[in-house]
């Protein structure tokens, strides 16, 4: 089988800033800002109020519906307020539990620690633990894991892939996690495989992390898991591109991985699941790569959820120049922030700082039909055409050109020599098409 997908780009990797920095634990924040929405789906309902004392790991938000996730306190202390606070994903103030840390790290024992008997926990119990521990996809999509572990009846999943590709430039959090917690990842993988009854387990890692490949190849011996070294190419870590690289199967247009018998989960999520099952620890901390050309001391930090970006930046020595952009996640798909007051959430894989030079944009020129975007689109679309549909608000054509099949990897906008904001236009096209489909289904 090939070790990659068709299309894709080679952005500068920029991982050298932090790839050799071991994971350091950032001291818990004095005040934790824990958003009630850290996942795709309905925001959690708060179960605490101002003045309550909470323990570390205590549930402070209950899932509101099936596609939702529990939220836990990452510190012990007193609830200062349940109020609106700037959110890194929505870009606006969202309901947030603000907790004053008493520094005691007194733990709530809500989950059972199965310890060495993690292997005998039954699938239904694993799903329940995933739900109770508030586990969501930690690669950035933050889809609730217990939902993903419960595929619709009739969908048979035979392949579970762990995503350790980390194809985004700068990010090294998953790389460090694989080097430092390989056993936890492998065990989490086995738990997922068991829950889904899948026979084929694979860990996918880009070849620019030979040390991680080597470590995991040793640790998977005797487990039946296979390590798949994949070509270094963006977006290798995109679910559909990873599946096709390893299995040759294409997730059908409009479908999900289980439509072709596959399941993909980030390596960090696998570790979180293992931690929840074995140690009874909910998802309250994660590894975040703090990096960027203007950060003084790039690092990989183990951070409590609810720690503000400003504290991460400060812990890394601050910026050496004026900060012009703060990105949550990687530079290809990450979100630019309005403020450094936003907190780390379950899906925060990186915090990147860009200076004046890094944010310079060249003026947008006319499309010269160079077809670079067509040549590299990993979804085999014609990005420039969809963008033109958006500019002229031709919804019908945008739909015909497959706007909704865009995975928003940003490769087209990266490669465009005329600096056209192709992905921006395509997002607009997608919104128009979705609105049109909704209108059609109503009438």
């Amino acid at each position: 089988m090939a070790d990659t997908f068709s299309g894709g780009i080679h952005p500068p990797e920029e991982k050298r800033y932090s790839s050799d920095a071991p994971i350091e634990t950032l001291p818990a924040p004095e005040v934790a800002f824990i958003p009630l929405s850290q996942h795709i789906g309905a925001p959690a309902q708060p179960t605490v109020k101002k003045g309550d004392r909470v323990l570390m790991g205590q549930t402070i938000g209950e899932p509101a519906g099936f596609v939702s996730a529990a939220i836990h306190s990452s510190v012990s202390g007193k609830v200062k307020d349940v109020a609106l606070h700037m959110h890194p994903v929505t870009g606006k103030p969202e309901p947030t539990v603000i907790i004053e840390n008493d520094g005691l790290d007194e733990r709530a024992e809500e989950l059972t620690a199965h310890g060495e008997s993690w292997q005998v926990v039954e699938p239904d119990e694993i799903r329940k633990i995933a739900a109770n521990a508030g586990i969501v996809g930690m690669g950035g999509a933050t889809f609730p894991t217990h939902v993903k572990l419960s595929p619709p009846k009739g969908k048979i999943i035979d392949t579970v892939l762990l995503n350790g590709a980390e194809c985004e430039p700068y990010l090294t959090a998953d790389h460090r996690l694989m080097l430092e917690f390989p056993d936890d990842i492998v065990r989490g993988h086995l738990l997922i495989g068991k829950t889904l009854g899948a026979g084929r387990l694979g860990i996918c890692i880009e070849k620019n992390k030979p040390d991680a490949i080597e470590v995991l190849q040793k640790r998977v011996e005797g487990t039946g898991i296979k390590v798949h070294p994949l070509a270094v190419k963006y977006p290798q870590g995109a679910e559909k591109q990873m599946i096709v690289a390893v299995t040759g199967r294409e997730v059908p247009s409009g479908g999900l991985p289980f439509d072709c018998g596959c399941y993909v989960q980030n390596v960090g999520t696998a570790k979180a699941l293992y931690d929840a099952v074995s140690k009874g620890v909910p998802l309250i901390e994660r590894v975040v790569t703090v990096s960027g050309p203007i950060l003084k001391e790039p690092a990989n930090l183990m951070v409590r959820v609810g720690t503000r970006y400003s504290e991460l930046i400060e812990a890394c020595g601050g910026a050496i120049e004026d900060i012009y952009k703060i990105i949550s996640g990687g530079p290809m798909m990450g979100l630019a922030q309005f403020s450094d007051e936003v907190p780390v959430t379950k899906g925060t894989s990186g915090v990147l700082l860009f200076g004046a030079e890094d944010v310079e944009v060249r003026p947008e020129l006319a499309c010269i039909n160079c077809a670079k975007c067509v040549d590299i689109c990993p979804a085999f679309l014609m990005p420039t055409r969809i963008a033109q549909c958006a500019e002229y608000e031709n919804v019908e054509m945008a739909e015909k050109f497959g706007a909704l099949d865009c995975i928003e990897c940003g490769s087209c906008a990266f490669i465009c020599p005329s600096d056209r904001k192709l992905l921006h236009y395509i997002r607009r096209a997608k919104a128009l098409v979705r609105a049109e489909i909704a209108r059609r289904s109503q009438s």
Partner: protein
Amino acid sequence: MPENKLIVSSSPHVRSGVATPAIMWNVVLALLPAWIVGIYYFGPRAIWLTLIGIVAAAATEAIIQKIRKVPVTAMDGSAVITGMLVAFNVPPGVPWWMVVIGSAVGIAIGKQVFGGLGHNPLNPALVGRAFLMASWPVQMTTEWILPRGGSLSGATGLDAVTGATPLTVLKLARSTILDPASSIEQVESATASVQAIYAAWPQQLIGNIGGCIGEISAIAILLGGIYLIIRGFCDWRTPITYIAGVALLGWIFGGESGFFTGHALFQIFTGGLFLGAFFMATDMVTTPITKKGRWIFGIGCAVLTVFIRRWGGYPEGVSYSILIMNIFTPIIDRHTKPRIFGTKKAGQ
């Protein structure tokens, strides 16, 4: 922290370093070997005619953009390419003002009336050349200059008889050979001249022949073309299919006395094929954006070129072939859309 400086824009937050003007200037760079060979064989005329073409094209672009009140982008390289290609596509003996008119028409009618770079359906340089061919057909087909130390056809001892470029020699000889009224001596003489120009293909390869300023040396053009392909500024599919197609179809149909009498190397090394295949049939703006479309474009150009050379009124058909295929570009794109990821593969 100075929060007011934070820029919030949508992803991606990084861009590749290659910009459109850089692509254009690389094309200019890739045209230099062909220019140098032209200067070597035709002398200083080839320098200043080309410079006149460049200045005329850039000036026309700037003036029209001023009138249109849009940003002046005359130095983005694209007008320079047009000017160069117009000059490269005229016989070296034409008066200088023809180059000016060709460049000006190419930019004005071929490009700016449609809205400038990226919006023109036809290759501007070829529009300029077509205008010159229609307006001054005699100059455009007779103002040849002997290459330094060589002959127009590449073969020795023929120019005195014909005074024509290789493809014209072939065209004239073919009509003599195929004409039942020709005497045996005439046929023999025509056949001998065809054999002589066929045998001269090495001269045609290096460019020691008569022709337009920039088209004579297949090898110099190839050098520039390979550079563009390696740098990713030109897709190999079109030039390969175009040239291979002309070799094959030229062998089948392009001969002097019937099917399968053509000379493949002669067909590809003479005329404007290499210049057209590497620098005009690959013009991004006016050619298909799909890979499949580029195959079709190259094959279409090859078919038209061979048919014009064999049955058309002109000895050479490269420029009209490309112009005609330019017109088909939108429809080719429409019917060669890539299969979207996750939709059925053909045959499933």
